[in-house]
């Protein structure tokens, strides 16, 4: 084999890329143990999260929540799972069978993959083998997470499309539009992190947060990530894809038994993934919170980091429930506007500011220039906010005028803009039941004029 020496050198350099020494060297049984532990952890998280969801929501609404099965109702979701598997596995007649059955798999399987690059601890000794507490790490680890999230969207769209029914179709379309809109803002919120960490590997990003977490120095990115992570997982207040009040069950209306369970599972596993990503990218991953390390230097060694990771992870998961318990569902156009007209422009300005200030500092420009640039950005943001508030005022005035016009019209004609009545003679409303006789009385036979009683 004749390889060009420089190509070979490049391959060696890539193989020995800094940050990846601890990965790809595990024996096969360690990989298997880690993968099984991650799988069991994900399943436990899903079961506990469903239970916690209902318990905490119950407490927020002055009631108990499930408390019958097991201590404090801990076995409730397990019982739900068993019950769901014993339900009839219904396949409606009109569906596209192959796609209908494939959709829950397409939604659920990629959801498991993303967790393989989440670091939950540094190098530890496991059964006498030195290994990282992370299944694997890639030079493109964060992109893998984004990619698996996008594949999951296919499951939702295909489920809605294959059901051949109006509610699932609308739910699937909404879900796809929402997820791709929020994925852009999510991708943009990662950029500032990449600027500071200089790597895409998740363990490298955690190590780059050694003195201070990115959630503090890149606070706007962190806030936007939290918003997009709720939008990306279709959770309240952004759960328009399955909003019960308007779309019955959204894209999973026609699913039952274990197929329905798979969508439910995928949703909760995705929540675990995005919460774990927020811990990894912004909250210092497995690193102990800074005040602890000052009086306990060993806090970041051995198995202790797992504890810090779990604490941060639980806090982010609680945030999901908290948001669900306190915020009303937004309207579809508000959701899209927030994504496209607020989050994306704010991100673009923020990334420009971060990059400019970092380059100016790296190139050794005098602090005066840097602070001048900061002031210019600050003024520009202020001006944009002012313009936005003025345009919002104008829009509100226009809406108020429109409402007043409608009110006047209703006053003059009570049937104006009334409730839409389905056409009683349209073919599909009368296919099995004969169309009702018109409710208004037929014109009276000529002759004696009937008396109008008004009753």
């Amino acid at each position: 084999m004749t390889t060009h020496p420089s190509v070979h050198a490049e391959a060696v350099r890539l193989a020995a890329e800094p940050g990846f020494e601890g990965f790809g060297t595990d024996p096969w049984w360690i990989i298997l143990i880690k993968a099984l532990v991650i799988f069991v952890f994900l399943m436990l998280c899903v079961l506990m999260m469903i239970m916690a969801d209902r318990k905490v929501m119950g407490r927020m609404q002055q009631r108990h929540g499930p408390n019958r099965l097991g201590p404090w109702g801990l076995l409730q979701s397990l019982a739900d799972g068993v019950k769901l598997s014993l339900k009839e596995d219904l396949i409606p007649r009109s569906v596209d069978k192959v796609v209908y059955i494939a959709a829950p798999m397409v939604a659920a399987i990629p959801a498991f993959l993303a967790f393989s690059v989440i670091p939950v601890g540094p190098e530890v000794s496991m059964f006498g083998v030195q290994t990282r507490l992370q299944l694997t790490d890639l030079p493109v680890a964060v992109l893998l997470v984004l990619a698996t999230a996008s594949i999951g969207v296919y499951g939702i769209v295909l489920a809605g499309w294959a059901s051949r029914s109006p509610y699932p179709l609308l739910g699937g379309l909404r879900a796809s539009a929402q997820v791709i809109s929020y994925e852009i803002a999510m991708g943009l919120s990662f950029i500032a992190v990449f600027i500071y960490s200089g790597t895409l590997s998740t363990s490298g990003i955690v190590e780059a947060q050694q003195p201070i977490w990115f959630a503090i120095i890149l606070f706007p990115s962190f806030v936007i990530y939290l918003i997009t992570m709720v939008g990306e997982t279709n959770r309240l207040p952004f759960d328009l894809a399955e909003g019960e009040g308007e779309l019955v069950g959204g894209f999973m209306t026609e699913y039952s038994s274990m197929k329905f369970t798979m969508f439910f599972l995928a949703e909760y596993v995705n929540m675990v993934t995005v919460a774990a990503m927020s811990v990894t990218l912004f909250l210092g991953g497995y690193l102990a919170p800074p005040p602890i390390t000052t009086f306990w230097p060993g806090a970041n060694e051995g198995w202790w980091p797992v504890l810090w990771w779990l604490a941060k992870f639980a806090a982010v998961m609680f945030l999901f429930i908290w948001l669900r318990g306190s915020l009303p569902r937004v309207r579809y156009d508000q959701l899209m506007q927030l994504g496209w007209k607020l989050l994306i422009p704010v991100q673009l300005v923020w990334i420009t500011a971060v990059a400019t200030i970092r380059v100016l500092r790296n190139e050794g420009y005098p602090p005066l220039v840097t602070s001048a640039v900061i002031v210019v950005f600050f003024l520009a943001v202020l001006a944009a906010l002012l313009a936005m508030s003025r345009s919002a005022e104008r829009r509100q005035a226009a809406e108020a005028e429109e409402r007043a016009r409608d009110a006047r019209a209703v006053h003059e004609d009570p049937a104006y803009g009334g409730f839409p009545v389905p056409p009683a003679h349209a073919p599909h409303y009368g296919s099995s039941v004969p169309a009702e006789e018109p409710r208004t009385a037929p014109p009276a036979p000529s002759g004696k004029r009937e008396e109008v009683t008004g009753a």
Binding site: I191, F194, S257
Partner: protein
């Protein structure tokens, strides 16, 4: 490749679980035939006939999809630039700013023409 193999192991476990539980669900549940139950759900009325092949979607969704592609490519261009920003220095910054201005012009045009209205 050693770095990627564990992902497939986890994916295999996940796929096995998903397929197994769907098979269990299909076998364990009861089977009681009922014509009305097999209809598409529409709050009790007879389902609206759906066109074969899925019918057409509103043009709005295609517009959103096209917008997504434009911005997704932008994000992907930003990633390698962000990682090597320290090495690229002022030249990289100015180049990327010019690119961002380009995209922003298209974005502002789309906004002005009402492409971002969903009301």
């Amino acid at each position: 490749m050693e770095l990627y193999a564990p992902i497939f192991v986890l994916g295999g476990i996940g796929a096995g679980f998903v397929v197994l539980s769907m098979v269990v669900g299909a076998i364990a549940g009861p089977k009681r035939y009922n014509r009305a139950k097999l209809q598409a759900y529409e709050c009790g009325i007879d389902p609206t006939p759906q066109p074969v092949g899925g019918g057409r979607f509103t043009i709005k969704y295609y517009l959103t999809a096209m917008l997504f592609i434009v911005f997704d490519i932008e994000v992907i261009f930003l990633v390698p630039w962000a990682i090597h920003l320290d090495a690229l220095g002022m030249f990289g910054l100015v180049a990327m700013l010019l690119f961002l201005v380009n995209v922003s012009i298209a974005y502002a045009y789309e906004w002005r023409r009402g492409g971002l209205e969903w009301g």
